[in-house]
Subunit: 715 residues, 2 copies
Amino acid sequence: MRIVELAIACGLLAVLYGIVTSFQVLRQPAGNQRMQDIAAAIQEGARAYLARQYTTIGVVGLVVVALVFYFLGTVSAVGFLIGAILSGLTGFIGMNISVKANVRTAEAARGSLQGGLTTAFRSGAITGMLVAGLGLLAISCFFWYLVSTHGANHAPTDRIVINGLVALSFGASLISIFARLGGGIFTKAADVGADLVGKVEAGIPEDDPRNPAVIADNVGDNVGDCAGMAADLFETYVVTLGVTMVSIALFVGNGVNTLALMSLPLLVGGVCIVTSIIGTFAVRLGGGSIMGALYKGFWTSAVLGAVAIFFATRYALDGDLTQQLGGHLAAAGPGTSPQTASHTAFTGMDIFYCMLIGLAVTAALVWITEYYTGTNYRPVKSIAKASVTGHGTNVIQGLAISLESTAAPTIVIVVAVIAAFQLAGVIGIAFAATAMLALAGMVVALDAYGPVTDNAGGIAEMAGLDHEVRVKTDALDAVGNTTKAVTKGYAIGSAALAALVLFGAYTADLKEFFPALIVDFSLSNPYVIVGLLLGALLPFSFGAFGMTAVGRAAGAVVEDVRDQFRSNPGIMEGTSRPNYARTVDLVTKAAIKEMIIPSLLPVLAPVVVYFAIRAVAGQANGFASLGALLLGVIVSGLFVAISMTSGGGAWDNAKKYIEDGNHGGKGSEAHKAAVTGDTVGDPYKDTAGPAVNPMIKITNIVALLLLAALAAHGG
Amino acid sequence: MRIVELAIACGLLAVLYGIVTSFQVLRQPAGNQRMQDIAAAIQEGARAYLARQYTTIGVVGLVVVALVFYFLGTVSAVGFLIGAILSGLTGFIGMNISVKANVRTAEAARGSLQGGLTTAFRSGAITGMLVAGLGLLAISCFFWYLVSTHGANHAPTDRIVINGLVALSFGASLISIFARLGGGIFTKAADVGADLVGKVEAGIPEDDPRNPAVIADNVGDNVGDCAGMAADLFETYVVTLGVTMVSIALFVGNGVNTLALMSLPLLVGGVCIVTSIIGTFAVRLGGGSIMGALYKGFWTSAVLGAVAIFFATRYALDGDLTQQLGGHLAAAGPGTSPQTASHTAFTGMDIFYCMLIGLAVTAALVWITEYYTGTNYRPVKSIAKASVTGHGTNVIQGLAISLESTAAPTIVIVVAVIAAFQLAGVIGIAFAATAMLALAGMVVALDAYGPVTDNAGGIAEMAGLDHEVRVKTDALDAVGNTTKAVTKGYAIGSAALAALVLFGAYTADLKEFFPALIVDFSLSNPYVIVGLLLGALLPFSFGAFGMTAVGRAAGAVVEDVRDQFRSNPGIMEGTSRPNYARTVDLVTKAAIKEMIIPSLLPVLAPVVVYFAIRAVAGQANGFASLGALLLGVIVSGLFVAISMTSGGGAWDNAKKYIEDGNHGGKGSEAHKAAVTGDTVGDPYKDTAGPAVNPMIKITNIVALLLLAALAAHGG
């Protein structure tokens, strides 16, 4: 338990970093009265939205916690609540820091670019460290508590521990899908609506204070790109570490090293928090590009992280990295054939190599995402060039790039799966995913920096600051587009690895709970194909809901703003202030309403599919279809998510590339076409695409819980 | 063999229908000199394109036939050649009829709407009956020849028969992917290019004779929507019937009824040709809508087809539909578990029910496609409404609809798979697919009618005919958008069923060729997941190639037309004729160049994946990954194809809906936004989307041939 306690200490360090850095940020000047007024309006709107969102989620959560309690008992219900509450808390704190840092970033950018970068990045780093720190604390403390007080002989592999970890993950996932989707709908409905009615119809610039939707747009950055994203990454962190521990419990079983091995993911998360904190201090311009400055932080964390992971692994395994681990059970999981069962044992060194693979995957995904969304490379330039011939060719080229962008990440993930599996079976894949998430603190920091700069630009515009301030915040924001895309590719990439491990856990549980049942997961079984097809359908349907919701809510914004312009002509003349709160309220209601059905889709689909197929073809085929559904959802979800997030980022930066003076610059026909592409990319990259990640997890976790519930209640 | 001979007679009847109807069409008046000149230019361009396309394909085909000959022997090489040549011939004849019917349709539409409909539909019916007739003749005659002259004791299950049928399918598929993709790139590059530079830049109407790209656009309808589509459906027909026969040979094995059962798909195809011919005579306006008239033909064919299939089945099985068939071998295929092996036997009645399921799937897909692409329903109306707020919201809503449109077809296919499998195992699924394709003659007729009316409208415009002629051809053309989308949904839907059967054939072959090898197709095997992911990647990468190709080639068209306008100002003044041939030639070269790499992707991917995984993880895992690749490509391909073809059709008709006077009508801002959506939908629905169907088949067939080649040459 020494190792777990070390991890807890690292988690506390992250929280401490968050508190100290918060004071640093809050101590900075908040600008003039006008700026503070605007920031206050944004804060108010964001808080009102989150309050309403959490109330709604709370109702759903209470129903679910009652179900969890009834079917799985107190410990699981407590685990669910911890996951849910901390997930919500992470989003809430992240949003609160972000809405205070925005105005301070605008003020700092009046001084220097470095000043703006520092303030914005610090704010991002607070969110990042809290995501990792609270995630680590949640899982470490709960694990520590369960092993200390529950379980036969305090065995970490006891069912109560496993169920507790799964329930904790479920709590985190359920909240995060609502937060990701609700926030995503809010931010893009406001953004698209504001652009359409402001830039396109009224011909006023972005963030013009005369636009009634402009505050809603800025609120959206905070509740979607910050709070929603933080909840999403919190979920990814908790689920990935949790499923790694669960898979060790299921596959390696009770042995001499089991507790150490199960604690290792926690320690790896812990030491990487330390290296991420060190990394944050490496973020300095130093004459280079903004992206370069951010990369310094990333690379510092990653390289130091690799070293720290080595020592953490050696420490956890008592200094011996060569002993065989898990040799008494097939690491590849139950029901394996002669080929897959060949990896029955692995060493500490193998585990370390697997974690290096995870770090390499992260680095590769960062690089690939930058290639597809950065303004220096072919993809974005090709979209910008296609804008010259009109709206249609811009969108065609953007869709082509979005389809194309799936290839390289898929090949990276495939190579990683093969390599990690060769080294240490399913456990190896789990540790690769864990190492990816260990860097979450830094990755989230890079991402959460984006909405702060975006808001800072909005405040600078609305408060009528010098044009050069806006130029600085725009430069910071352009990089934010890429870092935002990076996080999404990273989250979905880790989801692909985690999904394989989750499927392994599903098959192991199935064998434990229903030992007499022979379930045929072979592709020759048509019920497997049926499951794959239905699973693959989920991301498409889910994406359709997300896109439609944004379109509909954005339309409502347009109507509202038109109405305000009509009924109050003083707004356009600048003599009277628009009713910002009315628009915020409208988007809030729309987003809350639209998020519910699609969020429930992945919760209900596994249950419906299992019972439907069971009714037609028996229980074994019900389980076969359900298992295949879990893989179907990642097989198509990976592509849907990557294509949407990379494509959307590329469209956005193609617009920025033109605004930088290429192909005629701002106001040209090419620019108009690029604005269309950007609008299309908005719900792609910030609503539908990123929500696929928590959706995949939920589907998997619900399946695991369904198994446990069926077993507990006699199938 | 009596049954096969009956099928051959039906195939000959289809050819006879084609010849007679051709004379009917050609006898009709071809309009005035101006119309004939334009038609001649289109004919010339289309022939020049096809000649160059077939030359290029010929080179690839010769290399492939040499490989087939070397690895698999003479019979397979001959089979390949038959499939390839007839596939090409179908496209060639279809295109030739189409380019002659277009001007006659325009002339007939000067008289009455019914006249235009009759001429256009007859032309489509010629293509339809030739697709089905030549497809049936190819496979029936080759089968007849093989069984009569080859094989041990003339057994229809002899390996030489199976390999011959697979090679025949390969020939058809290889040609069709080139034709579908090359034609698709041609037609949409010309269409998008002409629209961009004509409608958008120069502000001249569609099909204005001053636009140098206008002839290329009309050529495109013939080489893409007609010749390419015909080759594609020919391929689907041959592969579906072929794989049904192969699966009977593999799963049911040599028994009393085997020859009868293997011949049954041919007879089903034959009798449905007869009912389709009868159906063509039911296509009459009779005061109703155009769509209603076409539906009369479809329903007549389908209902009579169901009755005919019943009698065909009874006839083939000597009047006894209740005897157990295939009881001595697991119909579900090898390697089955207790659950799947429960369907070891089925009766003739079961087979008949499976075919009814196939017909029901076809009807359901037709209805769903009409819902998603027809102007009377929510989806198209929602896109039209979203156009009011601009280009961006039009595209967002279109993408939302395209994602949404995958759900209903998937559920239909899933239900069909389960029902057919419950009735008769994999053989049941095969017969359901066969029944779907049995209606191909009528479905293709409805589709091929579209480009003829599109061309007729172009000719009417260019020849300066009365406006009311154009109104009539436009009305005919709008229905064509839906019928075109129907065919694509139908083809990909049948591909989903066929893919399951092809996978069954793959596993059966594997067992036969490598009896000692234990291949683990379980989802627990990570190499299966790797295969699924790589397979799922193929349609995305392929789509990216297709979209990029159209964008690039359309850009070249824009440059060429701008250059013609610049260097010859007389064109815009109407005093001098543009150089149509130059543009046609340019698009021809671009399309040929762009089609090659993506067409080779599905040919090479199976080979590369097998050898790569074998090198890393052994032969058994190589085969496991390859098998999973085959299913991965359909799991994602189904969604990519349906979303693209339905979405594209919806965008196109949303534009037409606005042009009918809604939301401001032609020239309004909403119309401009709808034109953008239409442009985006063009490569979606006519290039990338439809080519996914032959791509899926090729991947599967190459895998089967790879197995045979490896077995023949010692693995």
